[in-house]
Symmetry: none
Subunit: 204 residues, 2 copies
């Protein structure tokens, strides 16, 4: 458990990664889906065409994904974070920095190179003006926690993932979700997301 894995298509290894984490093992992208376990720390190279999908899949399995690029840039950083990665770093960073990244990401933190961070945040900030509160129409009938659960689920998260994000048990997520279904008159999570999507487009 808690394995440290280096996922890359072409590159066999990264010396500084090994010096920072002697236990690191290298696996192929297509091996990743079956070899990765919850809590594993994944260093994912961007040398595979489908690395965002792979990142999303690994993140969904509650692995801690850090994307490594040989040519870091803003767009790729955002893609990585959107794909569930907890970090985005230059592949040839010093081992001390890699250790720092691991420390941060292992504690619910996000690590992005300082020069990219400001851009990421800036972009997010400037784009917030338009579509801030979309689906609060029917959500107003819900309590705060029910709303939080509903939104998490409507974003495609599983009950387990929603539980982890809200720091409650899966059982509590089910309780809130059941209340949401009852109040909104929908039968399951699919109907919920469709309902919210429909209202979202009405506002927009």
């Amino acid at each position: 458990m808690m394995a440290v894995l280096f996922v890359s298509q072409r590159r066999a290894e990264i010396p500084r990664l090994h010096s920072a984490f002697p236990d690191v093992r290298r696996i192929n992208p297509d091996q990743a889906r079956v070899m990765v376990d919850s809590g594993d720390r994944i260093w994912l190279m961007t040398d595979h065409p489908d690395w965002p999908a792979l990142s999303g899949m690994l993140a969904a399995q509650e692995a801690i994904v850090v994307v490594m690029s040989l040519a870091p840039n803003e767009a790729e950083a955002l893609k990585a974070l959107q794909a569930g990665a907890r970090g985005y770093v230059h592949a040839l960073s010093p081992s001390e920095l890699l250790g720092q990244v691991a420390l941060v990401t292992s504690n619910q933190g996000v690590w992005v190179p300082a020069e990219l961070l400001s851009k990421v945040v800036g972009v997010a900030f400037t784009s917030l003006g338009g579509h801030e509160s979309l689906p609060q129409e029917s959500l107003s009938a819900l309590t705060e926690r029910e709303r939080a659960v509903a939104l998490a689920v409507a974003e495609g998260r599983t009950n387990k993932e929603a539980a982890r994000q809200l720091d409650i048990t899966e059982r509590t997520v089910k309780a809130h979700l059941g209340a949401v279904f009852r109040k909104l008159g929908v039968r399951d999570r699919m109907q919920l997301v469709l309902r919210l999507a429909k209202q979202g487009e009405k506002v927009a």
Copy 2:
């Protein structure tokens, strides 16, 4: 050096912050500009009207700023990060969590509550126009039957309902659906409907 400071207008102290950091001292917002030094760790309450400006000033002095709010929300989180804060957290978080936040932010990391993180990153990403694949594009990768099943499921039907509609077995629906998931790189029907919804709004 490396002082831990709690900056708040009204609130005298936060018990859990003290238990996490016994050395923390409380100062007023107007004292902050002169008392803060490089490397200091600042816990900044949002109970002052000009807290974003204050955060920016402290960040410019290379202090590590974590914004604390009694009612965390997406807009405020973005405001905090845009103002140079390294973290944004609920003011009444457990002391263990506060310790984690300090650990992350002290190591170049960014800390945002899990439920807000996805939104912040998501907003940033969608504003960049990072999508390449249009709806026809992704659906064209599917066969005719796969597309029919995908659409039925994306409209909220269960496998059983989709089977009845297409006059095939539920088992066959599962088979096609599995192929759809594999080709589109999604893990389940929720991700599918979200994918199609996202692409749909771009076309519209």
